[in-house]
């Protein structure tokens, strides 16, 4: 059974249909990269998966459970689904380790000492251990995003959703964040990544999904997608981006 099954998903903002009949399955331990021009609905799809946006129709089945039913425990579900934002969204009144701990103590109800040990473990993993007690305001973009990844990992997520994790970064900081994500992919974390970094997608993805105007236009292994795209729109997009 697939970990995530999306069936005929629709989402509109007012009269603007952003997602049209999306069908997508993600297997456990798979890394899926979503590519496409801006406004194609990639981020909305990602945000629908952890219900930051409420879909208008269709089904999202995670682990055999329809997450869109009325009695579904959204908060518990979200605690198992990490989300990485383009603009980091670190809690700016806390330092790095407090950012990692607050979810564990508030949501998972761990004790402070347990939470601290887990936070230190993941801060070390993303190479931010020495900045644990530093205010997030004093960190660089790349460092902030790595703390944000540590914060998500502290919740021991089954799925990690990354919404353009490197788009807000200076070019020289993109590498350090991508390295961390590659490491996670190697360890078998299920991830959905919206990205504009094609070489990164090529390296890390099991499946690349090309979205255009709210529909899944084409998907396949990175090798097929980048060397032999079938759809005209995919060809055009890749030609523009890979110039």
């Amino acid at each position: 059974m697939s970990l995530i099954e999306i069936k005929n998903l629709n989402k509109s903002f007012g009269s603007n249909l952003v997602l049209k009949d999306i069908n997508l399955t993600v297997e456990e331990k798979q890394v899926v990269c979503l590519i496409g021009s801006s406004g194609s609905g990639k981020s909305t799809l990602l945000r629908c998966i952890n219900l930051l946006e409420t879909p208008n129709g269709g089904e999202i089945i995670v682990d055999g459970q329809n997450i869109m039913t009325a009695d579904f425990d959204i908060n518990k579900y979200r605690s198992h689904v990490g989300m990485i934002f383009q603009s980091f969204n670190l809690f700016s009144h806390m330092n790095a380790i407090q950012n990692c701990m607050v979810g564990q103590t508030e949501v998972l109800k761990l004790s402070k000492s347990e939470a601290k040990a887990i936070s230190l473990k993941y801060l070390e993993k993303v190479g931010m251990l020495e900045f644990a007690n530093q205010s997030v305001k004093s960190l660089s973009g790349g460092q902030k995003q790595r703390v944000a990844i540590a914060r998500a990992l502290c919740m021991e997520p089954r799925i990690l959703l990354l919404d353009e994790p490197t788009s807000a970064l200076d070019p020289e900081m993109v590498g350090e964040v991508l390295e961390v994500i590659k490491q996670l992919a190697k360890e078998g974390l299920t991830m959905l990544i919206v990205t504009h970094e094609m070489s990164f997608a090529n390296d890390v993805a099991d499946t690349v999904v090309f979205m255009d105007q709210g529909v899944v236009c084409e998907y396949g292994s990175p090798k097929e997608m980048f060397s032999n795209p079938k759809h005209l729109r995919t060809k055009e997009f890749l030609a523009r981006i890979l110039r």
Partner: protein, 264 residues
């Protein structure tokens, strides 16, 4: 003692100084009451404001049942009525109406009534201040909180409100300063605050001009000191955390640099 007024120097400054020296305990007892009421009412008002602003910030979700939607709408309406009524009527009118109106049910002293009235009046203003503070917080903070599984209340208490209060701190402090001055209207329900006491003194010595110069100076002293203390707190809140206190000689904490030095 028959013509007490005749002993008082005729000029403004001399007269004021004489009156202050003679009646200092009365003035300071009034100032103490003024501070007691304005400080406690500002704190209680802040709590009321936090609650009311949180109620007004509750959002409708598509999953809400009809009943919870109606309940949320009702709470929104109550909060809005509260804010509009207490911001739209003079505190002096509120004081007279509530003090006498509720006296049938509660036997309260004027000071208790004063704290109650200033609190709910301040609460209405605080609710708007906190609402502005909440709006100043980036939506991403709320989304991040929800995305790690926090419910609405947890996200508010742990993530949004601490930042909103910090952003709104200058306005919150300003309410305190305003309250120090505005408690003077409580003299209409004979709360023995600074204005009431001054009025009594002025009645004894029959020198309104000189007495109220003393009063003005004491009010100015109270508000000026408060403003300075609030500024100091503000500066402290703004300093980035993790950069050590003022007592630390190192400008910043960069362990990575230290480690490199050791290696070299």
């Amino acid at each position: 003692m028959f013509f007490l007024g005749s002993k008082i120097p005729a000029d403004l400054l001399g007269g004021s100084w004489y009156i202050y020296q003679r009646y200092a305990p009365l003035f300071w007892a009034g100032a103490r009451t003024t501070l007691l009421i304005s400080l406690s009412a500002t704190i209680i008002g802040l709590i009321i404001g936090l609650i009311v602003a949180s109620i007004r910030n509750v959002k409708f979700t598509p999953k809400d049942s009809l009943l919870s939607k109606l309940f949320k709408k009702f709470m929104h309406l109550l909060a809005t009525i509260y804010i509009e009524v207490f911001r739209g009527t003079p505190m002096m009118v509120q004081a007279v109406f509530l003090y006498h109106g509720l006296r049938q049910y509660i036997m309260w002293s004027p000071i208790q009534a004063g704290i109650f009235i200033v609190s709910i009046n301040t609460g209405a203003y605080m609710a708007e201040i906190i609402r502005a503070g909440i709006q100043s917080i980036d939506d991403g903070q709320y989304e991040a909180a929800r995305s790690i599984g926090m419910n609405n209340t947890q996200a508010m208490i742990k993530i949004i409100l601490p930042q909103a209060i910090r952003n709104a701190f200058p306005a919150i402090g300003n309410e305190f300063v305003v309250n120090i001055k505005d408690t003077s209207v409580l003299n209409v329900i004979s709360v023995t605050e600074l204005f009431f006491q001054s009025n009594s003194v002025a009645g004894i010595v029959f020198r309104y001009r000189d007495t109220f110069l003393v009063t003005a100076v004491i009010y100015l002293f109270l508000t000026f000191t408060t403003t300075q203390i609030l500024r100091a707190i503000e500066r402290k809140l703004d300093s980035p955390k993790g950069f050590g206190g003022a007592s630390q000689s190192m400008p910043g904490n960069f362990p990575s640099l230290k480690r490199k030095e050791q290696k070299a």
